[in-house]
Symmetry: C2
Subunit: 264 residues, 2 copies
DNA sequence: ATGCTTCTACAACATAGGTTATGGTAGAGG
DNA sequence: CCTCTACCATAACCTATGTTGTAGAAGCAT
């Protein structure tokens, strides 16, 4: 039996009890493979499932009326996709793949069941949502108040940083499978200008545009260029999770107590 | 005794049981008044509380190294502030006021307690987080792929739309207390260009820059200019909440059962 | 009133980034 | 092998928006 990708992901945050693990596994259908450039859904379609990315790269986007598009976020292995549609019956963004990938679907409605059965998992889900927000926030800053050069550097560095929490190999030079059109649509720039900017950064020996992607040569220096401050990726959650774990124990105790009594 | 502002806010989403109401009220200290331009916190400070806005306007921002700043979101009465720091021990953005205001604080740590005691409230909190994300997403699109004119129109219209769900009077012309510097910092433009753009929109009879704010004269036409699609503000959540309510009933039943037995 | 400060207004000039166009390369598929 | 399709590269030219600077109006403290 394969190791569930969502369990692996959650154990990045906190050790899980056997019960939590069973619970998580229960809401996961087996992973499914998709080809590069597949569109998993378009904006407007009904949204009934979340997905976890177990292999490969994905991105969400929004098509504009004038034919342009905005890329909103990139997903790497271990990320959860679609959480933000919790409050919506329809997809508010499209999802497509940057590489061949494997994703696991699980139904939205079962999320509340999980909440009811494990306080710890409920808290972790909430934290993941908070982290997603922090990333979007930083992306906002990026679009609003940085030059093209800084934008590109910051975007690349952030993704490199996120990859570190993954089982993707990040030793040596890192190659990100991000074509220049995608960078343009993510950063609100034109492809031409992305190209100009990459050339500049290449001349400074910071990166190397390769076919269909970018190879990072000097992450440290890129962080410098970007004015990158990793604070928004470093959650500090142990307090909260301890609290949740204790509360869970109290609940369990109450239940067991009642059960014991009723069995006497 | 005053009506809790957070209860009012939550009842926008769903009717609450008496128990839910008590629970919510329990985590709320009484509202406190703050003066216009107060800074409630700076980025980097420890974050121990959430706030609900019961009166007035607030905004979050991020100061950049080069002295510029990015305004990230505006808050109107009924909004919850600080949820995104759930996963962080420190503030990742600053919070300041646009007008005299009243806010209620409640401690972060108690949120997990609420989660454990009411599935419905837990779900509503999650939905609010999802909605916040949807708003940030739209703001991203705004910054990435729209002209100054569209940006301004979209931003103003969105806020007008959000005000409708509030007990603020939205009949007649709406005056938003947003100075031009704030618009600039929110939309990634210079004050001068904001000024130019407002002048244009004023010539088209769409709005009227008033002292320290903007009066909207023709929201319909502004929506046209912005290409505004309100979908991202219209959650569809009844399914999820029904589900949560049922699950809560099942849990309660199990508990009561056990209790009854133990008291026999 | 007097002077602060904050916000608005507008002009002249500068530039980052957009647009259009053309050509190149590498892989995918018949 | 040839064609198609992605993606990349570079050039010439254009414009939306930024920068700097100056000035006036409105609110606020003394």
């Amino acid at each position: 039996m394969h190791t569930s990708c969502i369990i692996k992901h959650f154990e990045n945050y906190s050790p899980l009890t056997e019960r939590d693990r069973t619970l998580l596994a229960s809401l996961e259908k087996s992973p499914r493979a998709y080809a590069r450039n597949s569109v998993l859904w378009e904006q407007g379609e009904p949204s009934r499932h979340f997905y976890t990315v177990s292999k490969g790269w994905a991105y969400t986007y929004r098509n504009m009326h004038d034919g342009t598009r905005q890329v909103l976020d990139i997903y790497v292995p271990g990320d959860i996709v679609g959480l933000r549609e919790f409050a919506f019956s329809h997809r508010i963004t499209g999802l497509a793949l940057l590489s061949d990938a494997e994703l696991c679907a699980f139904p939205k409605t079962r999320l509340t069941d999980v909440f009811s059965q494990s306080l710890l998992l409920c808290n972790i889900f909430f934290m993941i949502a908070a982290r997603d927000q922090a990333i979007l926030l930083e992306r906002l800053v990026n679009l609003g108040r940085r030059s093209a050069r800084e934008k590109v550097a910051h975007f690349l560095v952030e993704i490199a940083e996120r990859l570190k929490k993954t089982d993707v190999d990040t030793s040596g030079n890192l190659r990100l499978p991000l074509p220049q059109v995608l960078l343009a649509d993510a950063l609100g720039l034109s492809v031409v200008h992305i190209n100009r900017t990459l050339k500049e950064l290449k001349n400074d020996n910071l990166l190397l545009p390769t076919n269909g992607g970018v190879e990072l040569l000097n992450i440290k220096a890129l962080e410098e260029v970007a004015g990158f401050d990793p604070g928004y990726l470093e959650e500090n959650i142990d307090d909260m999770l301890d609290h949740a774990r204790e509360a869970q124990l109290r609940i369990d105790a109450a239940f067991t107590n009642a059960d014991d009594n009723s069995e006497e």
